[in-house]
Amino acid sequence: MAEKKPRNRVGIEADRVTDVSSTDFPGYYPGEDHSWNLEKFQENLKIHIEYISELNAEFDLIGVDASIANAFRRIMISEIPTLAIEYVYIENNTSIIQDEVLAHRLGLIPLKANPDYLRWFKKDDPDFEPTDYDTVVLQLSAKCTANPNAPEGTTDPKLLYNNAHVYARDIVYEPQGRQSEWFPEGIAATNPDILIAKLRPGQEIDLTMHCILGIGQDHAKFSPVATASYRLLPTIDIIGEPITGELAKKFRSCFPKGVISINSKGEAVVKDARKDTVSREVLRHPEFEGRVRLGRQRDHFIYTVESTGAMTPDEIFLKSVQLLKKKCQILRKFNLAA
């Protein structure tokens, strides 16, 4: 082979993926030293933030091993404590949604509340009494009545009846004890438009909810993220002769928009490999055989964190780092890491 393949590449072939595992240990490649050392790690570690919004973030974590990157992902999904509705006390429910289903639906509503102020509610202890330190109380009551001022001839239930639809915004927060200090902005659903139930005249929902801290491992409703995942940075190498003319146009069409551009010489050049979705379309065409090498950078992780709204995505990621750190400390404390 003419040119040497970079060591941190995952190979994308037409029918398989090669070199998926990291090789950063001594003696993998004869004569090369890829063993881990702190200085090199410090030098290589980079974080680049693509964008951050209230609910979404995309950022790059470069220079770590897949195991570390995956640990953050896993912790974000399943181990960051979040507040969610766990106990529903139904006073009255004459809607067509059964009590269990209604409770299940309520549980899945993401709540905007800082979980740091709360302590764990001990579920296993039957004598454990809920206090303001561990339980947030919410109320929901809605009663549907016919709307006497409904416009003539309408069939829209929202106009015909009052409270025909019960939304997450109808949930009322009832501060207990010192909670009004801790949550001055109150606690509410992050998305007020979540439909909980539909009612018709004469139907009524009246219930009290207790929210507690939990983690995603126990139930998906405690997960602070809709999903958190990463992908590896795609690489596209045009090898050998440049691709020109009509072929270049075809080459460009094999990738999503903006990945390949055609320069002034009419040659196809890689503009932004990051935008590639790795559809491997180019590998299907025999005319590009041997002209392009696809790959992904094994230590470049492009994270996407979608928050449910309980915390900002950066907060979630930082918490995952903290949690991982805490775990390491525990291991070290008991000398388990040896």
Partner: protein
């Protein structure tokens, strides 16, 4: 070209067509029909509905047949009083009404019947004319009984109701109807398949060299089967009522054809081969010295099996012979004024068919051919039943009036109507009992049929629908012939090739295809006249010579010869054009059989037929113009029929036709065009996406499993109180639909969810079709279902004025309800929404201690004290708690209070629950995995289900793979895709969408392992597949026991989960232990842990004693204690009771 553009712009396309030359095509060039000719199918279903065969049949019975029955039995006369008569003038079936006379509103709707265990029935009214004294009285609107009404039939309150009106009646607009509600249960009369009546079937037994023609005659009075068969190359007539086989020539002579020449001509015509084969029979008759009709009749009369009633006078052999020939042999040909000619010709034709088969053994009929079968529907079965009951009713009425009329002088003038209403209950109960038990016993025909009706399965919408299209066969299930079970080519388009059960009933239980119609009886008389008008020569004027002359074709109406024609093709063409013009019923079929030189016209009911587009001069008569009109609602299906663009063909007529599937396949011989090829499948098989890519048995498996899928059942599902109801909490319509799904509106009542599936191996808990489920998906509601179970309690009234009652709550010292009564309210009924835990009471019923004797004198008065009642509560027995969903307190038809409690469980999927895709690929959940451990794609999607790829190679369900690709394309594109059979979204287009959206064309994605965080080394086939949750759940099946109840008789552990039974160590397990020599284990399993019993055995006599005393030897000496199985002890005692003395010989073991 023109057609394609016509779809979008009707006007421009029309203008284009008006151009003399357009895109190189002239005006006279064939025009392509719009691709949308399938739109005729929804138009067809809109008019006919999915269960039209049941409704049509019932409507025909209620409107037409019932009147005919009454007409045939219209007069009741008395044996005693010759003056008396009662004549039925008319009969009507009213609209369903409440039975209770004193209720405010007599209207009743089906849902009330379901809830209150009532029968949805309507009164039958008659108009009568009878004599009262010397006067003739006419009385109108007399109720003689109640008829259960088929839902959505002409007599049902639901017909013609729109969705909103249906909702106010608490009825589901998607429910197909076609069933009855009897005592609160929904009953379906399945379609019965049988050999056609009144038609000649020729069969051969090659081994024995026997040929026989048989005909099952069926009239209103009797059913009988007549055979004409060969015995040693001679032909005989055989009938059950005649003891001996009658030589055929003799039989024909008895029918008034004394001349041998005429017999020969009638049977063999001028064909020398036939004459040769037949002539031997002449000798047979001559040997018996029978030459005249009288001699022949006397001969037959002497062979008739007589089973006369003792009262009637003895008949001479001549009379017997006439009687037998006129009424029992080939009974459906009636004999007027002793003119047997028609019957003789019929017999001669049967004989000819036998002779033809003898000469050419290929000329036999196929019993399994669909054209030789008739389907019996609810209406026909009910009419048989009603006629029987009506006759009995009249009989009872007659005997009861005779009883009165016998009295010489009556105090008051006798009014016969007083007696008629007494028996009205017989009709009501007779109908109800037959439908609710399914036992059809008709005295007239000595018919005893069980299992005619079935409870409508409400497991899912599809199971209910599938039941309505089911056809059960009369063949025995045990017979080991493959013929009736095999898929017949003639079933094409009529019966679904996929939907049949596996195992025992395989191929015997069938289902109707989507676009079929079953005919009802049509009038024969107008057709008879028409045949003569169209130039047929009547049979009264023709002889055998003309009948079988070369070029002459017989015209048969429902199997009976009407006349002959020399231009059969022309005759058929003219007849068909009349039918297409609507001059005769559209369901009359006619076809030419060149082998038999016959034109067959069929007007009888029970033939399966289907609509096809007519092609004339190589052009489809349905043009884009018509489709456009259909789309705009200017035309309905019946207009197509009336205009002669579309016609119904039955199986026999299909044989005369050349049917093109697609328009481009039309050749100059084509006569018809298929409306849409996917209509060969039935409603249930229509759910499968891309079924034409699957191995055929997989489609059959899915047909069985689709009926077990949990989903939405009906719009009124939460109003219903069924014995067992499975509902899915969040059902979804499939990403990949089919046209059939839309037509049967499965997308409105779906049973499944679109799961994101990764086809890969994971964890080893996925072997043998096990599935890996994502826990987060389950948390979010995937596969969540509800099980609703009913409990019915009636509060009975007893003859001594006592009745069951509900008691309140028992309280402890502190005034709190005791634990068992925690969920009860003061009326003894549970609170709605309460949780019921094992052991709790949810209906606190009490029964009187004394329910048989008279109460007088015992407790003194109506105020019953607490002692007079004992508790008989309904206790919840199930380790899993339930919630009270509904409590209904009402009264049944017998006015007894009725309590129905509906219990609800909500279940999330767990290990061992059964799931299946729509391709016969079932699997149980093998492991539930945390979301973070699941592999994920670049976009962060992780699968709901991981399926092992080993499920594919041997099953060859390619359709499932295409479903995944189409589904994925639909998801990324935001559209629903179609997987319609022989059509649907093309895989190529789907791949194109995937590429456009940045996915691999193959549907395979690059995934990252959730466990290690590294990329997976293979690309994973990843996308949505519609998954059904099946009703088999671990929670209902898991069972284990250490100690528990034992059977009373044998003291061995009980059997079965419902009785908390033991787990049996069976013979084979026992054999293993014996072979292994584990004697102590064997002893423990079979005796100690089962029914060990200590007995005292006397060493002296070997019999068993007790308390260390031998009662036989009267001594305590030599009595030893022995442990034996209780069952063994029981055996010894039972033997003793039979005078066998089993003696135990005791010896030291070691």
């Amino acid at each position: 070209m023109a057609a394609k553009s016509s779809g979008a712009h009707p006007d421009s396309s029309f203008n284009d067509l008006l151009q003399p030359v357009y895109h190189g095509k002239g005006l006279s060039d064939p025009i392509k029909t719009a691709e949308d000719k399938w739109l005729l199918l929804p138009a067809f279903l809109k008019i006919k509905g999915l269960v039209k065969q049941h409704l049509d049949s019932f409507n025909y019975f209620v409107n037409v047949d019932i009147k005919k029955i009454v007409k045939a039995n219209e007069k009741v006369v008395s044996d005693v009083d010759p003056e008396f008569y009662l004549k039925y003038l008319d009969i009507r079936v009213g609209m369903p009404q409440r039975k209770e006379q004193n209720s405010l509103n007599t209207n009743i709707h089906p849902h009330e019947c379901r809830l209150r265990d009532l029968t949805y029935a309507a009164p039958i009214f008659v108009d009568v004319e009878y004599t009262r004294g010397k006067k003739i009285v006419v009385r109108k609107g007399l109720e003689i009984g109640r008829m259960p009404i088929m839902l959505r039939s002409a007599r049902c309150v639901l017909t013609g109701k729109n969705e909103q009106e249906m909702a106010t009646l608490m009825e589901c607009p998607l429910d197909p109807g076609g069933y009855f509600i009897v005592n609160g249960t929904e009953k379906v009369i399945l379609v019965q398949e049988q050999l056609s009546k009144n038609r000649i079937i020729v069969e051969a037994d090659e081994k024995k060299g026997i040929f026989q023609a048989s005909v099952t005659s069926s009239t209103h009075e009797r059913k009988s089967k007549t055979y004409i068969l060969t015995k040693h190359n001679k032909i005989y007539l055989k009938h059950n009522s005649i003891a001996e086989d009658i030589p055929i020539v003799l039989a024909l002579k008895a029918c008034g054809i004394p001349s041998d020449l005429e017999i020969l001509q009638l049977v063999a015509g001028s064909d020398l081969r036939y004459q040769e084969v037949f002539s031997i029979n002449m000798e047979e008759c001559a040997k018996l010295n029978i030459f005249t009709q009288q001699q022949a009749l006397e001969y037959i009369g002497s062979k008739v099996k007589t089973s006369r009633r003792p009262m009637s006078p003895r008949l001479t052999p001549l009379q017997e012979g006439i009687e037998a020939l006129a009424n029992t042999v080939i009974a459906h040909i009636s004999v007027n004024d002793l003119d047997f000619r028609e019957k003789a010709i019929y017999m001669a034709i049967m004989t000819r068919r036998v002779v033809m088969a003898m000469v050419n053994p290929q000329l036999v009929d196929d019993r399994d051919y669909v054209g030789n079968k008739r389907l019996e529907l609810a209406g026909q079965l009910l009419s048989l039943l009603f006629e029987d009951l009506f006759k009995k009713f009249n009989q009872d009425f007659k005997t009861s009036i005779d009883k009165v009329l016998k009295k010489p002088n009556r105090t008051s003038e006798f009014d016969a109507l007083m007696n008629i209403t007494i028996h009205s209950n017989n009709i009501t109960t007779g109908m109800n009992r037959a439908i609710s038990t399914g036992n059809w016993s008709l005295k007239r025909f000595k018919m005893e049929r069980a299992g005619v009706t079935h409870v409508l399965s409400r497991l899912s919408y599809i199971s209910a629908l599938g039941m309505m299209t089911r056809i059960s066969s009369q063949f025995e299930k045990t017979r080991k012939v493959s013929g009736p079970r095999a898929l017949q080519p003639s079933q094409f388009g009529m019966l679904c090739p996929s939907d049949t059960p596996e195992g025992e009933a395989c191929g015997l239980v069938k289902n109707l295809a989507l676009m079929t119609h079953i005919t009802t009886d049509d009038e024969e008389e107008p057709i008879k006249r028409l045949v003569h008008v169209l130039g047929a020569e009547g049979i009264s004027t023709i002889t055998g010579h003309e009948l079988h002359a070369p070029g002459a074709y017989g015209i048969f109406l429902n199997g009976t010869l009407l006349g002959i024609t020399r231009t059969p093709i022309k005759f058929v063409q003219r007849f068909r054009s009349l039918r297409r013009k609507g001059r005769v019923s559209a369901f009359i079929s006619l076809n030419v059989n060149h082998h038999h030189k016959a034109v067959h016209i069929a007007t009888d009911g029970g033939r399966i037929c289907r609509p096809l587009i007519i092609v004339e001069k190589s052009k489809s008569l349905v043009t884009p113009k018509h489709i456009e009109a259909l789309k705009e609602g200017r035309m309905v299906f019946d207009d197509f029929l009336k205009k002669g663009l579309v016609e119904y063909l039955d199986v026999n007529e299909e044989n005369d036709c050349m049917i093109a599937i697609y328009e481009h396949q039309i050749t100059k011989n084509t006569t018809h065009l298929e409306i849409e090829p996917f209509t060969v499948l039935g409603a249930v098989a229509g759910l499968i996406p891309y079924p034409h890519h699957n191995q055929s048995p997989r489609n059959t498996y899915q047909c069985a499993m689709g009926k077990q899928a949990i989903g939405a059942i009906a719009y009124n599902q939460l109003q219903r109180i069924d014995t067992l109801l499975y509902l899915m909490v969040y059902p979804q319509q499939p990403m990949v639909k089919t046209r059939t799904i839309e037509l049967i509106q499965y997308d409105k009542l779906p049973a499944g969810q679109n799961a994101t599936v990764a086809v890969m191996s994971y964890s080893g808990y996925d072997i043998e079709d096990a599935l890996v489920l994502n826990k987060a998906s389950i948390d979010r509601g995937f596969g969540r279902c509800q099980v609703l179970r009913k409990n019915t309690t009636t509060l009975k009234r007893y003859s001594n004025q006592t009745h069951d009652r509900l008691d309140g709550i028992k309280k402890d010292q502190e005034g709190n309800p005791i634990y068992k009564h925690a969920i009860l309210e003061n009326d003894g009924l549970p609170g709605v929404g309460e949780q019921v835990v094992n052991g709790m009471v949810y209906v606190n019923k009490q029964v009187p201690t004394n329910a048989s004797d008279s109460m007088l004198g015992t407790s003194g008065g109506p105020t019953a004290s607490a002692d007079d009642y004992k508790d008989s509560p309904v206790v919840y027995k199930n380790p899993e708690p339930s919630y009270i969903d509904k409590v209904l307190l009402t009264a049944s038809e017998s006015e007894q209070p009725l309590v129905k409690v509906l219990l609800r469980q909500t279940r999330r999927p767990e290990l061992g629950d059964k799931f299946s895709s729509r391709h016969g690929q079932k699997g149980v959940c093998g492991i539930i995995v945390q979301q973070e451990d699941m592999p994920f794609s670049d976009s962060g999607v992780c699968p709901d289900i991981i399926m092992n790829p080993h499920g594919f190679p041997s099953r060859m369900t390619v359709g499932k793979m295409i479903e995944l690709v189409s589904g994925k394309a639909g998801v990324v594109d935001g559209s629903l895709q179609y997987g319609t059979a022989f059509g649907g979204s093309k895989l190529e287009d789907m791949s194109k969408i995937l590429i456009e959206k940045g996915y691999s064309y193959s549907g395979k994605d690059m995934l990252t392992s959730g466990v290690s965080g590294e990329c997976l080394q293979a690309y994973i086939f990843f996308g949505p597949i519609y998954y059904q949750k099946l009703k088999h759940m671990v929670l209902d099946k898991m069972h284990a026991r250490a100690r528990g109840p034992r059977a009373v008789l044998t003291r061995q552990p009980t059997e079965g989960r419902s009785r908390d039974g033991g787990l049996r160590l069976g013979e084979m397990e026992r054999d293993c232990l014996i072979a292994y020599g584990a004697s102590q284990l064997l002893l423990e399993r079979l005796m100690l842990s089962s029914d060990a019993f200590e007995v005292d055995v006397c060493g002296e006599c070997g019999l068993m004693g007790y308390n260390g005393w031998c009662t036989t030897c009267k001594s305590a000496k030599n009595v030893y204690k022995l442990t034996i199985p209780y069952a063994a002890k029981l055996l010894f005692q039972e033997l003793l009771s039979m005078n066998v003395a089993p003696r135990l010989k005791l010896a030291d073991a070691f």
